[in-house]
Structure formats: structure tokens, C-alpha cells
């Protein structure tokens, strides 16, 4: 019985966590539908702040990382491909590795490191300082003022960052292909275009939507769960990172299995 109890406790905890997450998402959606047009200005202001922090401020980091990754991937792969006389597969390789998998995944990892941690810490501090209670008590709906703009802001930002990541990675790959192997831009892009399918676009959009939801609601869940002391804030941040990473990698595996397996 003790063994079964040890086995059951984490399973129950995990199911409770999933239930809490679903509850948070559903309530945010419900309150989003109740938003009045004369509240758009206030919520829009919060949304702009989130897009600026999560999207614009991370643009150079994402672009730089992607440029290097695209270049390194091509350096490593092209020598093997050219040895096999398979230069035509350069586009397939870039699409398979960068656009299909690493683009959304690494963007999500960087957003978790930069923004999910910030959201969890900010909401935790607000909760401890009684700011969330003060908002609710004075008629400012925390789902509409805190959660909805963060979710939408992260969604817009992740989409823009993934597009930026993919573009920069392709640019990095092309630079190496051009400088070292003399590949023309037309040949490179045609090779990429041939390897791309509508399913890749659909998968990327699905990943953007699910990753941004997982990142935001993990951060909100752990941030708003703080009630007692300041020492809970770093713990919440750590839990957010670990839990959001597990969620993003699990979702990525699930999407790959559903769409490509």
C-alpha cells in the first residue's frame, strides 16, 4: 500500500496541476469574452508592454542565435552532403532541422528564459504586495488586466520571434553556403521552397499557439500561487522554467508524432 501511495501522490499532483492550468485557461477565455470595448485601451496598453518586452527586446538575441545556428548547421551538414554528392538536399536539411523543429523550440526556450521567469516573478511580487487583491477589489478584473494581455503578448511575440528566427537561420545558412561553397541565392531558396510544405506552416502555427499558452499559463500559475513570503519567488521562477520546458518539449513531441509520424 505504501508503494502504491508513493506512486499515486505524484500522479494526483500532476492531474491537479493539469486541472488548475485548464481552469486558468478557461477562466481567462471566459473573461476575455466579457471584455467591453471601452476597456480595450487599458488592456491594450498592457499588451503593448508585454509585446515590447517579450518580442521586441528579444529580437536581436533571437536573430543572433538563429544566424549562428543556421551557419553552424550548414557548416556541419554541407561537408557530409557534398561528400555524398547530395548538395540538392541542402534545403530539405534546413527545413527539417531549423524551420520544422529548432525554430519554434529554441524560440520557446529563449522566451521561457527571458519572459516566463519575469512574468512569474512579477505576478508573485504583486500577489505578495496585495496588488492583485487591490485590483480585484476595485473592479479591475485580474484575468482581463493581468492574464489576458500577457497571453496575447506572448502569443504575438512568439509568432514574430519564430518568423525572425527562421529568417535569420536561413540567412546564416545561406551566407555559409555562398561564401564557402558558392551556392547562389536562387538555388538555395528554391531548395528550401521545395522542401517546405503546407503541413510545416500548420505545424509551426500550432506550435506557436500551444507553446505561448503553455509558457504564459505556467508562469501565471506559479507566480499567482505565491502567498506567504519573498523566498517563494525564486522557487516559483525555477518551477516555471522546469515545468514550462517539460510542457514545451512534450507538446513538440506530440505535434511531431501527430503530423509527421
Amino acid at each position: 500500500m505504501a508503494f502504491l501511495a508513493r506512486l499515486g501522490a505524484p500522479v494526483r499532483g500532476f492531474l491537479e496541476f493539469l486541472g488548475d492550468q485548464a481552469h486558468l485557461v478557461l477562466r481567462t477565455l471566459r473573461h476575455a469574452l466579457l471584455l467591453r470595448t471601452n476597456q480595450f485601451g487599458v488592456v491594450g496598453g498592457q499588451l503593448r508592454l508585454q509585446v515590447r518586452f517579450t518580442g521586441l527586446d528579444a529580437l536581436w538575441l533571437i536573430a543572433g542565435t538563429a544566424l549562428l545556428l543556421g551557419a553552424v548547421t550548414l557548416i556541419q551538414a554541407f561537408s557530409q552532403l557534398s561528400g555524398l554528392g547530395a548538395e540538392n538536399y541542402i534545403g530539405t536539411l534546413m527545413v527539417l532541422i531549423i524551420l520544422r523543429e529548432l525554430g519554434p523550440l529554441l524560440t520557446a526556450v529563449l522566451v521561457i528564459g527571458r519572459s516566463a521567469t519575469a512574468i512569474a516573478a512579477e505576478l508573485g511580487a504583486m500577489q505578495l504586495n496585495g496588488e492583485v487583491d487591490a485590483l480585484a477589489a476595485h473592479g479591475v478584473n485580474p484575468y482581463q488586466y493581468l492574464l489576458l494581455p500577457r497571453w496575447l503578448g506572448v502569443l504575438v511575440s512568439v509568432f514574430v520571434l519564430v518568423v525572425c528566427f527562421d529568417a535569420a537561420a536561413l540567412a546564416g545558412g545561406f551566407l555559409v553556403a555562398k561564401l564557402k561553397y558558392g551556392v547562389t541565392f536562387g538555388f538555395f531558396m528554391e531548395s528550401v521552397r521545395q522542401a517546405l510544405s503546407n503541413r510545416d506552416f500548420a505545424a509551426t502555427l500550432l506550435k506557436v499557439f500551444l507553446f505561448s499558452g503553455a509558457i504564459t499559463f505556467h508562469a501565471c500559475h506559479f507566480g499567482l500561487g505565491i502567498h506567504r513570503s519573498q523566498t517563494e519567488i525564486p522557487q516559483a521562477v525555477t518551477k516555471t522554467v522546469v515545468s514550462a520546458l517539460v510542457a514545451v518539449f512534450s507538446l513538440d513531441g506530440l505535434i511531431a508524432a501527430l503530423l509527421y509520424f
Binding site: 487591490a134 477589489a137 473592479g139
Partner: protein
């Protein structure tokens, strides 16, 4: 305006603070909640405001269910509640002026009206010199006044004040007392003040709820 029936409150450690509390405050009524520190006064105000769930019982504000129900979310946009917290409560990333304006903007008020109300509330409590500063950059008494000014600007039907004079010097106490006195005389405002002893509020609020700690439950071996 306010109805409590069979209300029970628990402390964070699980200890029962209140049991079977019934209270009805009519619209325009003023009530004091007194009792020693730790007896559940602040918690009672938070339960009434809908930011904390009671252990049992029913809370209605302005004819609407707060508990059981959606808490403060059930009152948003329907019944205006103003809450001056004993500590904290102002958003640290907004200036005092923005803190006052936020609930009004969220109500969908026109920008000019928001500005007029905020200016009036700031002037009423002498906060104009620190209006553009964030809460961490102003004195503790300015933060307390900021909480009161937010209530003035919101012009609510139910006003909850948690130890409103705590930490204020003589001049600031006089200013706060004048504001609270005006609320007490207003027949459209219902006032609930929590503090240890009635002190200067004895005449302001005729109704009084004296909370006493419940005796500890002894466990028999």
C-alpha cells in the same frame, strides 16, 4: 448594502477565527469592526471585498452574492467597492496618479472625467507633489493617503477601511479623519472601518461589531 450570514473565517494556520457571524449593514450605514490584533478584522474586510474566500457562510454586497460566488469578480462593474488597505495595495509599477486612474479607466470612464476625479482626489489629500512618483519612492503616509485617494476618486458605494490612521502623523491623521467624516455623513455611502479600538471613530460610526478571539479547541487524549 451588506449582508453576512453564518460567516466563518479561518486563519492561514487553520485556526478558526470567526464562527456563525451574522451582520446586516443598510445602505448609508456606518459600522466599526473592532477587536485585538489577529482576531480576523482585516480578513473579514477582505472576505467582504471578495478577495478572500470564507470557510463557511454567505456574503452579499449590494444585493449580489459575493460568497458563495465569484468573489470580487461578481461585483466588478456592478457594485463599486473602495478598499483602503492597511499595507500595500498600490501597484508598484504605476505612479500614484496612474494607480488612482486605473480603476476609473477600467470602468470605461472618459479620460477627461478620469483626470478631473484624480486631480480632485490628489488635491484633497495633498498628494500633488508626489503624484508622478511610484509608491516605493514616497513616504509610508503618502502611500496610506494614496489608498484613500483611490477610494475618493472611485466614489464607491461601499467603503472598507483597514486601520486607516495607522502610521500617520497628527496632520495626516486630521486630513484622513476629515475625509472619513465626510464619507460617514454621506447617505449614499456605506462605511466599514476595522481597527483595534474605536478611538476617534466612536461618533462617526454608530454600528459596532466587536470581534473576540475564539477559545482554543482542546483535544482530549
Amino acid at each position: 448594502m451588506l449582508e453576512l450570514s453564518g460567516l466563518a473565517l479561518d486563519a492561514p494556520d487553520g485556526r478558526r477565527l470567526l464562527e456563525g457571524l451574522d451582520l446586516a449593514v443598510p445602505s448609508g450605514g456606518n459600522h466599526l469592526v473592532t477587536g485585538p490584533s489577529g482576531c480576523g478584522k482585516s480578513r473579514l474586510l477582505r472576505v467582504i471585498a471578495g478577495t478572500e474566500r470564507p470557510a463557511a457562510g454567505r456574503v452579499r454586497v449590494g444585493g449580489r452574492d459575493v460568497w458563495p460566488g465569484d468573489g470580487a469578480l461578481g461585483l466588478a462593474g456592478r457594485v463599486r467597492v473602495g478598499f483602503a488597505f492597511a499595507s500595500g495595495g498600490l501597484l508598484s509599477n504605476l505612479t500614484l496618479r496612474e494607480n488612482l486612474a486605473l480603476p476609473l479607466r477600467f470602468l470605461g470612464m472618459a479620460p477627461k472625467e478620469v483626470e478631473a476625479r484624480v486631480d480632485e482626489a490628489m488635491a484633497c489629500l495633498g498628494l500633488e507633489p508626489v503624484a508622478s512618483l511610484r509608491p516605493h519612492a514616497v513616504s509610508a503616509s503618502a502611500r496610506r493617503h494614496g489608498n484613500l485617494a483611490r477610494v475618493i476618486a472611485l466614489d464607491p458605494e461601499l467603503i472598507l477601511l483597514d486601520d486607516p490612521l495607522e502610521g500617520l502623523d497628527a496632520a495626516d491623521r486630521a486630513t484622513a479623519l476629515a475625509v472619513i467624516g465626510r464619507w460617514a455623513e454621506d447617505p449614499e455611502k456605506t462605511l466599514l472601518i476595522a481597527l483595534e479600538a474605536p478611538g476617534p471613530f466612536a461618533e462617526v460610526a454608530p454600528g459596532r461589531l466587536d470581534l473576540r478571539p475564539l477559545p482554543p479547541v482542546l483535544e482530549t487524549p
